[in-house]
Symmetry: C2
Amino acid sequence: MKELRVGMLGFGTVARGVASLLRQNGRVIAERCGIELRLTRISTRNPNKTAAMNLDGIAVDADVDALVEDPTIDCVVELIGGLDPAERLVTTALNRGKHVVTANKALIAERGMALFSVAHSNNKDLCFEASVAGAVPIVKAIRESLAANRIESIHGVLNGTCNYILTEMRERKLSFAQTLAEAQEKGYAEADPSFDIDGIDTAHKLAILAAIAWSMPPDFGGIHIEGIRHITDSDIAWANEMGYRIKLLAIAKHRPEGLELRVQPTLVPLGTMVSQVEGVFNAIFVRGDHAGITMYHGRGAGEHPTASAVVADLMDLGRNLRAGLSSTRVPPLSVANDHLHPIPIHGMDHLECEYYLRLAILDRPGVLAEITAILARHGISIDAIHQKGGATLSEAVSLVIVTHQCREMDLQTSLAVLEGLETVRGKPVVIRMESGLN
Amino acid sequence: MKELRVGMLGFGTVARGVASLLRQNGRVIAERCGIELRLTRISTRNPNKTAAMNLDGIAVDADVDALVEDPTIDCVVELIGGLDPAERLVTTALNRGKHVVTANKALIAERGMALFSVAHSNNKDLCFEASVAGAVPIVKAIRESLAANRIESIHGVLNGTCNYILTEMRERKLSFAQTLAEAQEKGYAEADPSFDIDGIDTAHKLAILAAIAWSMPPDFGGIHIEGIRHITDSDIAWANEMGYRIKLLAIAKHRPEGLELRVQPTLVPLGTMVSQVEGVFNAIFVRGDHAGITMYHGRGAGEHPTASAVVADLMDLGRNLRAGLSSTRVPPLSVANDHLHPIPIHGMDHLECEYYLRLAILDRPGVLAEITAILARHGISIDAIHQKGGATLSEAVSLVIVTHQCREMDLQTSLAVLEGLETVRGKPVVIRMESGLN
């Protein structure tokens, strides 16, 4: 039986998952591929970490640069993460005629174009199913299964850490800081959690999915990004009371005027499927002009689910090898690299949607009249307004306003005016709403 | 640019969808494939049906036998349905060196093995993504994206007609007969609805998915099949009251003792994702040993969604052609045909689950004691029991019993005894419950 010789860079959580998956399911994998996937070498900064695992027959060392030059290796699995040295190593591996499989979303979202071009000139594949949504096969679904469709929109929950935090805050009525601290203790959030909770990780993934869906170079810089740091337990409770959940959503909508690309906390109505995505799960909704909306749901991270996606890519390469493929079969972003075209971004100013606003106000006579007059003057009409009583006159109380659809620009202008009022304390909380989602 | 010349058999709903999709999205499809998919010929029993559509440049005739012999055609799309003449035509097309794409679940479930063998000996592909769950790419997901996993279970809603009927019965409190008649009027159910409502269609699809998941010849005959004819609005109302939905589920579980394969109405707890699959939608849940549960949801039928899946298969073939593939890349059932092995079926007698029972009883002194004693004698313990009062002594009333987990064999034996009681009228309604699903 032929074999595909695999070298792995890194030995963190996912890499351990890959090594154990190849060992556990090696026989069925070989039967399904028609060739054997053989992990022959692991290079990691700290080779001692591998001691706990049975890696018989696998060379282990600290020389990542030597691994990508190793002429006995057919395919490099990059699981180091980050841009440096991953970018350099992946480039070298491709230039040395090796396929590369990666779970590195930052690398694909920020350096993808250069790397795809290197892959193409070497007639090698750079595979990245594992970079978005763990075990959920969303890259292949958009690139292959929905390939006959013009994609109209994509939205979803792409970061398990944020979704876990928001779910816990709601279920246990905890503050953001408390929940984050717990998530860090349990290993669901990093020591430096900013990539996750500030929406960067979600934006990397959105850049990748949009690039495949609309045949464009990944446009990480074009994404409007808001994280969840400013979401309070009180916003979550208000949302709940009004029949909504708060989710950190990645949203891409293809409009005649351009592409809307945003990552933001969003109020979604209870009863929609996206509102039911809980804890560490991910879900992606893709609307195609013929398929309608299809949805994909599963574990978005973790040792075994992500390993499942990495090895699926390896098996694709194995099946190509076995079938005697003479060139790359599916371009990474759906069309040939030289057919990719940037798409103009539909700026946030022109966005129209409904908004949830929470203002800390001093409960004095006339304050409501003043606030609603300012909103009206900017063309913003109010769908619902709530104020909880009980405070003394000198204490700020929460005023929650849900607007009808209005323009982001008008909303931001009116907020600037509101912030200037003596009766409005601190910065108003603004969360966009999406009622048209599924 | 190279082209893949496509001939289409049939011109029903899905075929119209394929023709219009290829026309509408031809340019992006060609860009994504790197080759053009050109529909050159349609053969259908009634060519007049095509008059309503602009089919410029496409030959239309009634000679289905000539189409599969046509040497100018590279790939045949079979959308006639049923076994005869589809089986003969597909066989001939493969023997004439053409690839075949089909949406025909009966053909694959009941004649798949013979056809895959013909395809293999001609080194051609027989593709069938569209045969299960319309636009939802579940065939590719199991065969490629989850290929590194040992699959533990599959369950799902695979028939939109049944799910539509059950949803309408619940929401509008209508009888089965009324809802079916309405569904037929709206075109959601066939004039002869038995394939759908008796569970045959669902079983065809389950046979296909199980075959891919467990590398076995499709085992349609091994599936225990129950439809939804016997479900009453009163069962739906009872289920609702107790916190359940009734769904027609396809269930496959891989156990050490063998494979459980069943199609059955099922009580699923509210709040689970499967309970939220409504109307004509389909959803499939697959549990892999590494991926965990992933879920796929979308439109399971209809002109455009099914066409999306048919053309995705054509594009796979187009991408193979463009890449210069010298042989079949992915075996239809995941492993080479000669590696497929039948799996022993875990018989229904040995099943253990919870049950919903509804008996029409005469409300006389001692009747409850008698019934519960019979159940106890067979080792069946009761989780909940409900009886609605109000009837006269001579009228039958509904007694609803929810059991703890027990053996199917014991349940059936006790039911036979219960049916013999003078106080039990008619046949008890039995619906299995699944609380461990997601």
